[in-house]
Amino acid sequence: MDPRLAGIERRLAEVRRVIAVTGGKGGIGKSSVASILALVLAERGLRVGLLDLDVTAPTDHIILGADDSVPTEEFGLQPPQVHGIRFMSVSQFLGHEPAPLRGTDVTNVILELLAVTCWGTLDVLVIDMPPGLGDASLDVVRLLRRAEYLVVAGRSRVVVETVRRMLHFLSDLRVPICGVVENMAREPGAVVEALARQYAVPYLGALPFDPHLEDAHGRAAHIGRTAIAVALRGMRDQLFPHSAGGQHPAP
């Protein structure tokens, strides 16, 4: 028997919510949304963890400027604090080496990280998901039964096609979808909102395309001033209605 399956629950026992940031397509901005959402939730005073599960292409450490962060060993792996976020990523072990992994290997990486990472008490663990409906998505559904899904979408028909499949998949499984956001929005439009309505899930709004985002990567203070951070702050109270005013949610 694989003991890690039994160990996961204990590691997440004091984590109140798990929000998996997902979407159908690569390049849609899941990592930006996950990382910046973690930052704006932490600045509100919430205890936040961020787990980059895009294990073959991790990038959250670049967005956060966390290249040098490493976990410490104490009972398990203790995630380092990065701008007030407890952060875990395979990048902390890989450096810049490529990790070519097949599906079963991806599953093993996810199991291992979940079984040995000591998150402690968190109000929310944000998970940056890899694109699509592959092993990682199936594993998060299987292993983290109480995860809620934040779906990142865009109005391109190419994106809508894949996001529709993701919403269909999540809806069929009856897992909670805490919202759909439109990313890289250049002008007002109703395509993504209509998609959310079709699946009866909350439409949280649009995150505007920000030409300054690239320059802000790696600098948390600059990230906090980007249009996407400003917009995510506006969605914060919808995602955490009890945290308004900097209070921790009641136990």
């Binding site: 028997m1 160990g7 490529p98 990790a99 992994l101 291992e112 079984a115």
Partner: protein, 137 residues
């Protein structure tokens, strides 16, 4: 020591397995440690002993056996079968540590000795498993 977390997982898994099998008293647990993860047997035995709950009635008489399993690999592109001593030594402590924490990161640091591919299958000896559990119902 991150071995404590894995040891705790072994104990949790043993108790779950006992519950499912209707076992009221576990008498023996056999744990198998894979060579790839480079966990020291004594270190893991210490961790298991430390996390074993002393007040858990199902575990009061348990004996713990730890076996080790050699790592065996097979390259997918060239079908070459190889073992850990056959591969190039790792370049530094950080590479060994990465594999110690997440054995699949071997695919970043180990290559098939024949064709240099990172696309190999770990046939045996990956990490920690609960090999068997014996007890009384």
């Amino acid at each position: 020591m991150h071995e404590f977390a894995l040891a705790q997982a072994v104990v949790d898994a043993a108790l779950q397995t006992a519950d499912q099998a209707g076992i009221r008293r576990i008498v023996r647990i056999t744990v198998r440690i894979g060579e790839l993860q480079q966990i020291e047997r004594d270190c893991f035995a210490f961790a298991l002993n430390e996390v074993l709950p002393t007040t858990e009635p199902r575990l009061v008489d348990v004996a713990i056996a730890i076996e080790t399993e050699a790592a065996r690999f097979r390259c997918r592109p060239c079908a070459h079968a190889f073992a850990l001593p056959d591969v190039q030594p790792l370049e530094g402590d950080s590479e060994a540590e990465a594999i110690h924490f997440i054995p699949e990161l071997a695919h970043a640091f180990i290559r098939c000795p024949r064709c240099q591919s990172p696309d190999f299958e770990v046939l045996a000896g990956r990490g920690v498993i609960l090999q068997s559990l014996e007890g009384d119902q």
